[in-house]
């Protein structure tokens, strides 16, 4: 008797709720007098902290002849500052069971320090010293040294990687020459070689000011104590001028498809089909994400099922949408099986796009895509660094650090008609770039 009741009770408790409440992400936000935005999120699951500082400066803020500069500058932020000798930042944070790293995009440079939670004050001191005084110990030797590292990074990530050149070529075609997204974040070798310490000082003075930054602290810390440290280490830093940055006119829409090809040391062709899309957090961007998932999100997705599973003409296929400040990119990338041409892949992709343009996705496809997206968003909150990065993105890009619940909601609200409209109106042949990378004589059979 008892066992049966127990079983029934368990079954009831296991039945899924219709819409689970999103997990709470309690935060406190405020802004220092010097404009530095602060977001604090206490999370005591493990004794770690993450300090994420998001600077609104990226490759699109580079001037002509200095491509790759924002990323090169990012490297210099790890070479010591006014009171921190070169190498000490990493030594301290590693001894604290953590590390320091950063990433640069066209719009932003995002730094993160991760450490055992009893080292939070150390992490803040390090960040304050480089925010206030990076260039006070800058030398030609440091610049030359990191220039060398960046050029090795370019070799490893792009030049010595099969198909590595693809996005370098695609950005050039997708965005006009005068547009901030035209050139790659990694930059060109000749521009990297031309960068000077004067350039570094000027860039630092213009963009690395507290009023151009948002700092998130997430993890096992005490808010009251953190606020005292923040005031102590950052409160005194003078506010800077609002950065005078390049402005870009909205590019004229693409009116004609551009197809081009390149070769690489590879065995089989790969096709990249790319369109411009909406800006990040634009009201249409969730529909683009869901469309990408329906097109190539899994084995039963439209493109995977057709090209990989049924026709067996592709080794792999993926689709995605990347939203940025000035606009986004929607892409479909397929790698051919041996003996298949890029054109053959493109014809199959187009056939599926036409099909999806004719009739909206099914209710099941929509449910699957939304479920997968929701799971992914929740998983991103498992780590302290993941939370800090997400909160920073919500604050800067969505202009609302408390956006998580609304974020889940806007995906739940995407309709089949929305996705249908994305495909029919936006993913058209006339406004896209198609790049095929073919095997060169060395690679091909």
């Amino acid at each position: 008797m008892l066992a049966r009741l127990l079983v029934v009770g368990l079954l009831l408790s296991l039945s899924p709720s219709v819409s689970a409440k999103p997990p709470a992400l309690p935060i406190e936000t405020y802004t220092l007098d010097n404009g530095l935005k602060i977001i604090l999120h206490e999370d005591h699951r493990v004794p770690k902290v993450a300090v994420v500082t998001w600077f609104r400066v990226g490759a699109k803020d580079e001037r002509k002849g200095r491509t790759g500069f924002a990323h090169l500058f990012e490297h210099l932020m790890f070479k010591g500052s006014a009171h921190v000798p070169d190498g000490k930042l990493d030594l301290l944070l590693e001894a604290a069971g953590g590390y320091s790293n950063a990433s640069t995009s066209s719009d932003a440079t995002i730094y993160h320090n991760v450490a055992a939670s009893n080292f939070l004050e150390t992490a803040l001191w390090l960040d304050a010293d480089r925010l206030a005084g990076l260039t006070e110990t800058l030398t030609q030797a440091k610049l030359d040294n990191q220039r060398g590292v960046v050029r090795n990074e370019r070799r490893q990530s792009y030049e010595n990687r099969p198909y590595g050149k693809a996005w370098l070529l695609l950005s050039r075609e997708l965005w006009p020459k005068s547009h901030g997204y035209h050139w790659p974040v990694i930059g060109y070798h000749k521009d990297l070689l031309a960068a000077s310490t004067d350039d570094v000082a000027k860039f630092f003075g213009r963009y690395y000011v507290p009023n151009n930054a948002t700092m998130v602290i997430a993890g096992d810390f005490d808010k009251k104590e953190a606020k005292q440290w923040i005031q102590k280490y950052f409160g005194w830093i003078p506010k800077g001028k609002v950065p005078d940055r390049p402005r870009y006119a909205a590019p004229p829409p693409l009116r004609k498809e551009k197809r081009f090809a390149s070769t690489d040391d590879v065995q089989v062709p790969r096709v990249y089909v790319v369109w411009r899309g909406p800006r990040a957090y634009n009201k249409n961007s969730p529909a683009f994400d869901i469309a990408a998932s329906i097109l190539a999100g899994g084995k039963s997705s439209r493109l995977y099922k057709r090209l990989v599973y049924e026709d067996r003409i592709a080794q792999d296929i993926e689709a995605g949408y990347q939203g940025q400040e000035l606009g986004g990119e929607f892409y479909i990338v397929a790698t051919a099986k041996p003996g298949i041409s890029g054109d053959r892949l493109l014809r199959a992709i187009d056939a599926e796009l036409v099909r999806l343009g004719h009739s909206a996705p099914t209710a099941d496809e929509m449910a699957r895509a939304k479920s997968a997206t929701e799971a992914w968003k929740l998983k991103g909150l498992e780590s302290v660094l993941g939370r800090a990065l997400r909160l920073a993105a919500y604050s800067v890009e969505a202009k609302n650090p408390r956006f998580f619940a609304a974020d889940l909601e806007r995906y739940r609200n995407v309709t089949a008609a929305d996705v249908h409209r994305v495909v029919k109106k936006h993913l058209q042949p006339h406004c896209r770039i198609v790049l095929t990378i073919n095997p060169n004589k060395k690679g091909g059979k």
Partner: protein, 496 residues
Amino acid sequence: MRLLISLLSLSLLASGPVHAQSVPAPWASSSVKDWNIPPKPAAEKSFRAPVAKSLRLANGMRVIVIENHALPLVAMTLMVVDAGSSADPADKFGVADFAADMLDEGVKGMSALDIASLKERLGASVGISANVDYATVRVSTLRKTLEPTIKLFTSIVSEPTFDADEGKRLHGDLVTHLRLKPDRPRQVAGELLDGALFGPKSAYGHPTTGTLQDAQALTLADAQAFYKKHWLPSKMILVVAGDVTVAEMRELLGTTIGSWRPKGRAHTKRPRVRQNKKSARLLLVDRPGAPQCDLRIGLWGLRRKDPRYAKMAVLSNVLGGSFTSRLNNRLREQLGYTYGIRASSYEQRFAGSFVISTALHTPKTMDGIKEILSIIEDLRKTPLGQKELDKAKFNIIRDLPAQFERNGGIATAYAHLALHGLPLDWYQRYDKALRKVTAKDIQRLAKSFLNPARFRYVVVGDQKKLSAGLDALGLGKSESFDSHGQPKAASKTLTP
């Protein structure tokens, strides 16, 4: 104020070619007494790994449950001991991998596409793969779809259909993937090193997928036979971490995977794992025009249960296990030869390897190799200073909690403990062992272990530019391989 600024200006002039055009910050206006002194850390927080509850299901499967109610998520890791490539029969290399890949290509009542669709609907991910000592199924899902996810997981593990059409398709994909191996030079480098250390046709030394020739010879029947022989509940450990309770998992698993009683008795044949004494010292693959060369330096390592495990962790951290490690600091930051270099110790059940791995700017390859050897020699000759030793120890100790942030990380951590028969409180013991490591320990280990006479080198790069220099280094007997990692002499017989 002015004095401070002018003092700063003087010191700036004195220190060399500094081009600080921006005015120094008004440091004196802060309340910090001395910016030069790093703040003292607060009191160390003691960390205990989350409690793991062990139970056994009626069919002999071992289950470990870790409750984590932070988020409405659940992760599961299934370890299938001895279902990895070390169990591949000598004439069927790649079969463990093929078998694992077939599991979600069709189960009783559901096709491959049905399975894929259901997974997505549940917000779940299911990844199945064969490693060397084991095969694994990794699941992650939402708390609200836990029960149907477990039912799906049960079907995948206990009733795969090995459908003929799916088998043909998957086999074709595996073969094509292997045909394209020349596009993955780093994979080729890694496989060559394993072959050099363990023997290319040995249990530990052959690629998990098998070579192209191996894979071409496999049949679906081979895969199904392997599955029947090795995927048995008595060989399985299931770790569940997330928003669950122990009682609920006992009930849920008991009525699903725990009720599975396949025929077949578990085999516990221990694989033959021996050092490959016959291999060349230097293994070469040509990639004409490559701007970088992929270098691997490796040697026979420790097995997982070796009592020197903690000492080895510190040694590999010091040598190449962090950004400030000796290798990375010197070759990347100081010399600019590479974007990154690392040293790692890989401990499997019966043997292991120690590998230094990097991509060197081609013209710097010889200098790079010489530098690596010189750094190793230094480590063997001179004991570490206290600061460097502490940095390495605490880099590991203070990062241990990170293993337990994500459910997937928790599940994997405990699954590996169970695989190797290590106690569930191993992380506490590891913490203690790390704290005890001395500079003498490290030097002794480096002396006995990092003996260059035992090194094997793999160089994948532009041989026209490299060969003279490599000869001059006198590393020993060399052998050339094609872009698939096959000995050059044999490449003539490779079917296109």
